[in-house]
């Protein structure tokens, strides 16, 4: 997040987002656990929690939309300033 290049800034936000998503998935993980769908009678004693997985799938989709808008704005910035350096953009703006 300390970089001046806006593409690196976007990459860093994506990495932060992905790391949180991995943390969320792992919060529902159980060693040697099984999935509910693999049991015919819904009777699994050591079940992996599916809710974090569902939420993370949704978070990935939201992240996709957000990243698309971020990259669109980055393209707009490059077209206006012909640089990816955010400090130079502020200089030109001011």
């Amino acid at each position: 997040m300390m970089k001046k290049n806006i593409i690196k800034l976007i990459m860093s936000t994506i990495i932060i987002n992905y790391s949180i998503q991995v943390f969320f998935v792992l919060s529902g993980y159980k060693l040697q656990g099984d999935l509910l769908v693999f049991s015919a009678d819904n009777n699994i004693l050591n079940m992996v929690d599916p809710i974090p997985q569902i939420i993370v799938l949704m978070a990935i989709l939201i992240g996709l939309a957000v990243n698309a808008v971020l990259v669109t704005i980055a393209i707009g910035l490059y077209q206006k300033f012909e640089t990816f350096d955010i400090t130079k953009m502020f200089e030109v703006k001011e």
């Binding site: 919060s27 939201i62 704005i73 206006k80």
Partner: protein, 508 residues
């Protein structure tokens, strides 16, 4: 309750309608958006009647039962906020008709506007934390796109900075949700509140001794603080206010930021986690720091929009401070100040838009001296500046008076002294605004020539309505609306974690 889903169905259907049929007819897109806002305002009033007397309405989506279902909840606080949101949205859409005349692809603007409203509705009505997060992102993404809608260089820069902070805030909130789920195995707000009470009673511990919850609260404070633009996270929001077009800035300051930042945090803190002294002190400190930082920023700036952006941060800081007081009157002051903040911010944004429209440029600087040449803008700035410093009978007087009195009772004089100091600075800044933009002018300057462009009625009308509310109607409105809307909203916050029991009653 079948009204609640209409808050999502109507705007989403109208988005499809606008995209399909109004690409060449911008007046139809505007009409459709105005109609949607009007219908949703009427539905909000109906919800206010249904939720009178502290009733809670619940709607389970997908046919599942509590706590698995996606639940939509309308209580007095959510309905109160919905009413404010739709009053401001309706006025802004009417304002947009005149303001957006010269822009191409107006249908895209209305689509983004309505999707932003869908997100705001979702945040207000969601009964579980994941739905809240989803709608937070929906309204966030729409607002980022709206900030750079004009595709100007400064709009792109403002949108980028605002968006980076917004994305970071969302990640932090998601981390808080992940921690919360790991700790309590619950996502429904009422379920979380219930689980917390059971856990603390079983372990015989107080809230301040529960380290994990303090961590979760810390993540939520930082995440929602970034969204709200509270000190020290206020720079991105100021950039966005300054870069966005006037109707977008009005919606950002008047609707999006109070709802997706402040409302969401207050809902989680008061109704789900439950208040405790250290948390309230944190709110008081964050509030007073924002109040001071905003005023100092406003006093240092010379550009109209930057001065206003500083004041918006400071006024929102005062709302946070008043919430931190935590008493019945403190909460009344907070809610009243929030309404006052929304009126002032919207009025200032509309005024700046009038000047941009008159000079056909969003370029700031000396051009804002044109305010004195536009009659309605002059009245609006005069009203808003006096409301800003809390002069009687303008709207700011009541909220600031209540907060001042309550701060004296709560804080042994220390908060009272600080508030008095910053009220004085706000007064100086307001006088500066009046002097700089209304009462002085150099006759030989090109920017002081009388305007040839006539401001359309659709832009004058919302400004006039808000100025009237701020001047006179506010007194009558305050006394009549207090029992009907304000007190039930405050009761929701006062009841705190009894929210869970109210939801269980609502489900039955």
């Amino acid at each position: 309750m079948m009204i609640i889903p209409l808050f999502f169905i109507i705007p989403l259907l109208s988005i499809f309608f606008i995209a399909a049929f109004t690409r060449e007819k911008s007046w139809l897109a505007n009409l459709a958006a105005v109609l949607v806002a009007a219908v949703l305002l009427i539905l909000s009033l109906m919800l206010a009647l249904f939720t009178g007397g502290g009733k809670v309405l619940c709607y389970n989506m997908g046919g599942f039962s509590f706590p698995v279902s996606i639940m939509l909840v309308a209580d007095s606080l959510a309905v109160f906020m919905l009413l404010i949101v739709y009053c401001i949205s309706l006025l802004t859409l009417i304002y947009s008709k005149g303001y957006m005349q010269s822009y191409l692809d107006k249908w895209k603007y209305y689509i983004l506007f309505l999707s932003m409203l869908v997100g705001v509705n979702g945040v207000l009505l969601s009964g579980d934390i994941v739905t809240l997060y989803i709608f937070l992102e929906v309204s966030g993404v729409s607002s980022y796109a709206l900030v750079c809608f004009t595709k100007k260089a400064n709009a792109f820069v403002g949108a980028f900075r605002y968006m980076i902070k917004g994305v970071l805030a969302s990640s932090i909130i998601l981390f808080g949700i992940a921690l919360c789920y790991s700790y309590l195995s619950a996502l429904n707000l009422a379920d979380i509140a219930q689980q917390l009470i059971i856990r603390h009673e079983t372990a015989q511990i107080q809230m301040r001794e529960d380290i994990v919850i303090l961590f979760i609260l810390g993540f939520f404070s930082v995440g929602f603080g970034l969204k709200t633009g509270i000190f020290p996270f206020h720079r991105g929001v100021i950039e966005a206010y300054t870069a966005a077009e006037a109707p977008v800035a009005a919606m950002l300051s008047g609707v999006v930021i109070p709802v997706i930042g402040l409302y969401a945090f207050i809902r989680l803190f008061f109704c789900v986690i439950g208040v405790f002294p250290a948390g309230m002190t944190l709110l008081l400190a964050m509030g007073i720091l924002s109040f001071s930082a905003g005023i100092i920023k406003a006093l240092r700036e010379h550009d109209f929009r930057k001065i206003i952006a500083g004041h918006l941060v400071s006024e929102l800081g005062l709302v946070v401070f008043a919430f931190g007081l935590g008493t019945q009157n403190g909460l009344l002051g907070a809610i009243t100040q929030m309404v006052n903040y929304i009126i002032i911010s919207t009025l200032f944004c509309y005024t700046s838009g009038m000047v941009s429209y008159a000079i056909n440029s969003n370029h700031t600087g000396r051009a804002y001296a044109q305010i004195k040449n536009i009659m309605v803008a002059r009245v609006a700035v005069f009203t808003a500046a006096l409301a800003l410093c809390g002069v009687f009978p303008f709207s700011g007087f009541w909220s600031k008076f209540i907060i001042m009195i309550e701060a004296k009772k709560v804080g042994n004089g220390q908060w009272f002294f600080l508030l008095a100091l910053f009220y004085l600075l706000a007064f100086i800044s307001s006088i500066r605004i009046l002097k700089k933009f209304i009462f002085t002018g150099k006759k030989g300057d090109a920017f002081y020539k009388p305007l040839k462009i006539k401001i359309p009625f659709s832009m004058n009308f919302p400004v006039g309505i808000l100025a009237c509310i701020s001047i006179g109607a506010y007194i009558i409105w305050f006394f009549y609306a207090k029992e009907m809307f304000f007190i039930p909203a405050i009761n929701v916050l006062n009841e705190g974690t009894l929210y869970a029991q109210n939801i269980f009653l609502g489900i039955k």
